[in-house]
């Protein structure tokens, strides 16, 4: 019996929560039959259960409400404000009685009659016997209208009924602790499985064990999925109570507020829902109390009389974001700043340098509350600092943005806390870290050269699928220092953020990937903003899980407007955009010079042996292009490799040999012209040291030339098996690229059979500029410039002769 009673209380509570929102929605739209049906079902169920448990007062209350609602359903009565308020009052009374029943207290006598009378007050069209029927507690008069209604409304009500049938699943009620125990049990099971997997790998292949082990793995992952879902709940359960809350608040404060809920189907960990319940309620109270103005004030400002409070939940990757926005008066930056100075949070001088967003976010600091009068609604000694604390406790965060006169937006970020996630473990600087798999787009292992790894100021860039992507060095992010070898041969983990932004994280190596059981970290560690949790590896070693989203936003890599608007980087970014930037280097004369950054294509490294100094002007072959080289010292190089700045004016390219590339810097100081040095645009100060800024115009005027292809000479061969299998290897080994017959390349040397040549000449077909003619007979007919096709020496000599002629012609051109 006690179990039954506990079930009754729990069930009634659940329905109470759901019906609060339904009632308000119904009030807004009385024609909404679905809502009316839900509420009717609630009071009807309560009434039925009361009969079973013998709670006469509960029965009579629910009976009265059911009666009134039944009339509305039957169309005998129009639901109005008064009725809704009266029904709400009854539902509240039912809630109080349920509390008393659970606590085992006696509920104070009296008061029920007035409530019942209130429901009945506007009951003009009701049958006169209704109220007395309630008093007597006899069923027939009550059930008659309900039955009648059901009878007549059968077809009409059918759609709703079908939906109910689909939604009604068989459920059981479980204590949350039991769920938690199962959950942690499964977590430990995953750990044990990982440990076993590790040992099995060490022991080598054992077919008799591997099979069952695979099965165990599959089963475990199924169970894990189910458990995870068990803990998930739709955020609707939280949203359900909000319309009622807002309705009561706005009624109390004489305001008119419309609630717009969105994203109720987002699922969240049960515990997480409980954690955010209070913060969310607090924010809504704040918005209604302080944010939304009185109707008269709203009209005066040209706004709609009814304020809008929008609450939207979204899942993005591993976090749920909840946005609470109102269209009220917005936050008063000056008042917040004044208050913060008064309470000693900031100093007056600090205030001058703070951006609006930073000031607004001071409202989350401990000991801050702007409301001058503590009203009944908000400001009950719980401030927004507590809201933030509660959210941070579970690894969430909160930020506020506001436009004066237009409204305020609070955005909450809450982790999903799926406590088992798929992850990747990486090595860096002797440490090991985990990255949630969901962020990982791809793992790239290549040389810095292939990735086109460049440093632009403090930012490193790599080229990934033709796009320049920012690259973070994990070692630097974590302050571990970076090893040169890792920078040259990095392993890049390409991470895709929920916002769609891509960035690369350079690590020293990938260790493993698999399921990670994530446990929360101590708040002092969480505060660093780098970690989302800890996990244990197969061997029991604890490993930290990186907070990818936070690391990205700390480095301004997230193109979320909200994130971009916050933080001290904003000001700096503006400076960066304004000041011209230059690449600072030391040349071989030991002079510190700079060249404008836009000119620098990339920084090349070439072996000293690749420099060809035979001509008047030294040249280097890079990427198959012959490029002029300047800046070399007169004497021979003593170093094995030379750093080269590859400069381009768009058409021409040249290489500038430097002793050392220092950094990309901003040209903040004044530029002093140096008329006496033709190659210097100006002198300027960088970090207090004089630096010569190279005059790009003069540089390119003197040395610039379009890059010459350093490609191998090309040769067009005749068609046919013989040419392909016997001639082609010979020509290729002599250092020629083979082009298929018919390629129209004027620089290429053509090898054709004499008969083909004659035909082509006779028909006036296009032939390569230089042609080597082959004949089939060893003996040459007199007066014919042909070569016997097996005359190896003759053929090679002809090829090199033709090639020389082509080069001379090319240079003359």
């Amino acid at each position: 019996m006690d179990d039954l009673l506990a079930d009754f209380i729990a069930e009634t509570r659940e329905m109470l929560e759901a019906s609060g929102g339904e009632l308000v929605a119904w009030e807004a739209d009385p024609a909404d039959r679905a809502r009316l049906d839900t509420i009717f079902r609630f009071v009807h169920t309560v009434k039925g259960n009361c009969g079973f448990f013998d709670f006469p007062r509960l029965a009579s209350l629910s009976h009265a409400a059911e009666d009134a609602l039944a009339d509305c359903r039957a169309g005998r009565r129009e639901p109005d404000q008064q009725l809704v308020t009266a029904v709400l009052a009854i539902i509240d009374r039912i809630a109080l009685m349920i509390d008393a029943i659970e606590a085992g207290d006696e509920f104070p006598e009296g008061g029920d009659e007035s409530l019942i009378a209130a429901v009945d007050a506007s009951h003009e069209t009701a049958p006169s016997g209704s109220l007395t029927g309630v008093k007597e507690g006899s069923n027939p008069p009550l059930h008659a209208p309900a039955d009648a209604m059901l009878g007549t409304g059968e077809e009409q009500a059918a759609p709703y009924r079908r939906a109910d049938a689909a939604a009604a699943q068989r459920t059981i009620r479980l204590p949350v602790e039991l769920l938690d125990r199962v959950m942690s049990g499964v977590s430990d099971m995953v750990l044990a499985r990982n440990d076993l997997a590790h040992r099995l790998r060490q022991a080598g292949n054992q077919p008799t064990i591997d099979g069952p082990f695979e099965r165990l793995t599959t089963i475990l992952s199924d169970v894990r999925d189910a458990i995870t879902r068990m803990r998930m709940q739709r955020i609707e359960t939280l949203f359900g109570a909000l319309p009622r809350l807002v309705r009561d608040l706005s009624a109390e404060l004489g305001k008119q507020v419309m609630v717009d809920l969105d994203g109720g189907d987002v699922e969240l960990d049960r515990e997480m829902i409980e954690t955010i319940r209070d913060p969310l309620t607090h924010l809504i109270r704040n918005a209604v109390d302080h944010g939304i103005e009185q109707p008269s004030a709203r009209l005066a400002h040209g706004k709609r009389e009814i304020g809008l409070l929008a609450i939207a939940a979204r899942q993005s990757g591993n976090t749920i974001s909840i946005a609470i926005s109102d269209d009220g008066r917005g936050l008063d930056e000056d008042r917040i700043a004044a208050k913060a100075i008064a309470t000693g949070l900031i100093t007056a001088s600090e205030r001058q340098t703070m951006s609006r967003d930073k000031i607004l976010n001071l409202i989350f600091e401990p000991g801050f509350s702007t409301a001058e009068t503590v009203s009944n609604v908000s400001g009950r000694g719980v401030g927004l600092d507590v809201v933030r604390q509660n959210l941070e406790k579970v690894g969430g965060s909160i930020k506020v943005t506001s436009v004066p006169g237009q409204g305020t937006l609070f955005s909450l970020q809450i982790p999903l806390t799926l406590s088992i996630i798929a992850g990747l473990t990486v090595d860096v600087g002797g440490h090991r870290f985990a990255i949630p798999q969901s962020y990982v787009e791809e793992i790239v292992q290549a040389s810095a050269r292939a990735l086109d790894f460049t440093r632009m100021g403090e930012t490193a860039l790599v080229t990934f699928r033709g796009n320049r992507v920012p690259c973070l060095m994990l070692g630097e992010v974590l302050g571990l220092g970076t090893c040169e070898i890792a920078a040259r041969e990095p392993t890049l983990v390409m991470l895709r953020l929920a916002s769609g932004d891509l960035f690369a994280l350079a690590v020293e190596g990938i260790h493993n990937h698999g399921d990670l059981v994530v446990k929360p970290l101590a708040p002092a560690v969480m505060r660093s903003g780098l970690y989302a949790g800890s996990t244990l590896l197969d061997d029991g070693q604890p490993v930290l899980l990186l907070d990818v989203a936070n690391i990205a936003s700390q480095h301004n890599l997230m193109s979320d407007t909200r994130v971009r608007a916050i933080g001290p980087m904003e000001g700096e970014a503006v400076v960066t955009a304004d000041a011209p930037r230059a690449m600072l280097f030391t040349d071989f004369a030991g002079r510190r010079s700079a060249v404008r950054l836009e000119l620098v294509q990339r920084i090349e490294t070439a072996p000293a042996s690749a420099i060809d100094r035979s001509a008047a002007r030294p040249r280097v072959v890079i990427d198959g292009l012959i490029l002029p080289l300047i800046g070399l010292p007169e004497e021979a190089l003593t170093i094995a490799r030379v750093r080269l700045l590859r400069l381009s004016d768009g058409a021409c390219e040249l290489l500038y040999a430097v002793r050392e590339v220092e950094d990309a810097v901003e040209l903040k100081d004044a530029l002093h012209p140096v008329p006496e040095d033709p190659l210097a645009e100006a002198m300027t100060l960088i970090g207090g040291q004089p630096v010569t800024l190279i005059d790009a115009h003069a540089l390119f005027a003197l040395h610039g030339e379009p890059p010459l292809a350093a490609a191998r000479p090309r040769c067009v061969l005749p068609d046919g098996e013989w040419a392909r299998t016997i001639l082609a290897p010979l020509v290729a080994s002599a250092g020629y690229d083979i082009l298929p017959e018919g390629t129209n390349d004027p620089a290429a040397i053509g090898i054709v059979f004499d008969d083909v040549f004659e035909v082509a000449e006779a028909l006036g077909r296009a032939l390569p500029a230089r042609v080597i003619r082959l004949r089939d007979q060893p003996d040459a007919p007199p007066g014919c410039e042909t070569i016997y096709r097996y005359d190896r020496e003759g053929l090679l000599a002809a090829l090199s002769e033709a090639n020389r002629a082509a080069r001379v012609e090319g240079e003359a051109a």
């Binding site: 406790k393 090991r432 970290l521 101590a522 708040p523 002092a524 029991g540 070693q541 604890p542 930290l544």
Partner: protein, 155 residues
């Protein structure tokens, strides 16, 4: 309070007492994984069965620096496991001495205990093993930065 069980440990060369109710267990400390960019008084994390413990270097958490004065004391290979706010910590101390009962209430001494100690100490407590400084766990776990903020706020 009188009769309360206390865990007596040496921290930074002083005898300190923790309520035995706070101390879940005393463990042999295994490998500690350091946490880059974490406050200096957090030595890292270590594993206890399937649980990760945050290892607190109590000396640094009090605000005593490392280096010359930090090397004066040996560190016990055992650590006290405590929980606060749902998180588990392992406290690295000089040595864990004894479990004993308090002989009286924690009381103040004239002149205080010094700035580092006053922040975390609730007072001096007489025990069967002699006088010890009763520590407030939450204050200890808050780290030395908490004190600095308070001082800054006061200024």
């Amino acid at each position: 309070m009188t009769g309360d069980l206390l865990v007596i440990a040496q921290i930074a060369g002083r005898r300190c007492a923790l309520s035995a109710l706070d101390v879940k267990s005393v463990i042999e400390i295994g490998t500690i994984t350091p946490i880059p960019r974490a406050p200096v008084w957090i030595a890292g994390i270590t594993a206890l069965r399937s649980q990760a413990l945050t290892v607190i270097d109590c000396r640094r958490a009090l605000g005593f620096g490392g280096g010359s004065d930090g090397t004066d004391w040996a560190t016990d290979h055992r650590a006290a496991v405590v929980t606060d706010g749902g998180h588990s910590y392992a406290l690295m101390v000089d040595s864990i001495e004894d479990i004993t009962t308090a002989a009286d209430e924690a009381g103040q001494v004239p002149g205080g205990f010094g700035p580092e100690w006053s922040r975390v100490a609730t007072g001096m407590v007489e025990t069967m093993a002699g006088p010890a400084l009763m520590l407030d766990l939450a204050a200890l776990l808050a780290g030395p930065e908490a004190a600095r903020h308070e001082i800054e706020a006061a200024v």
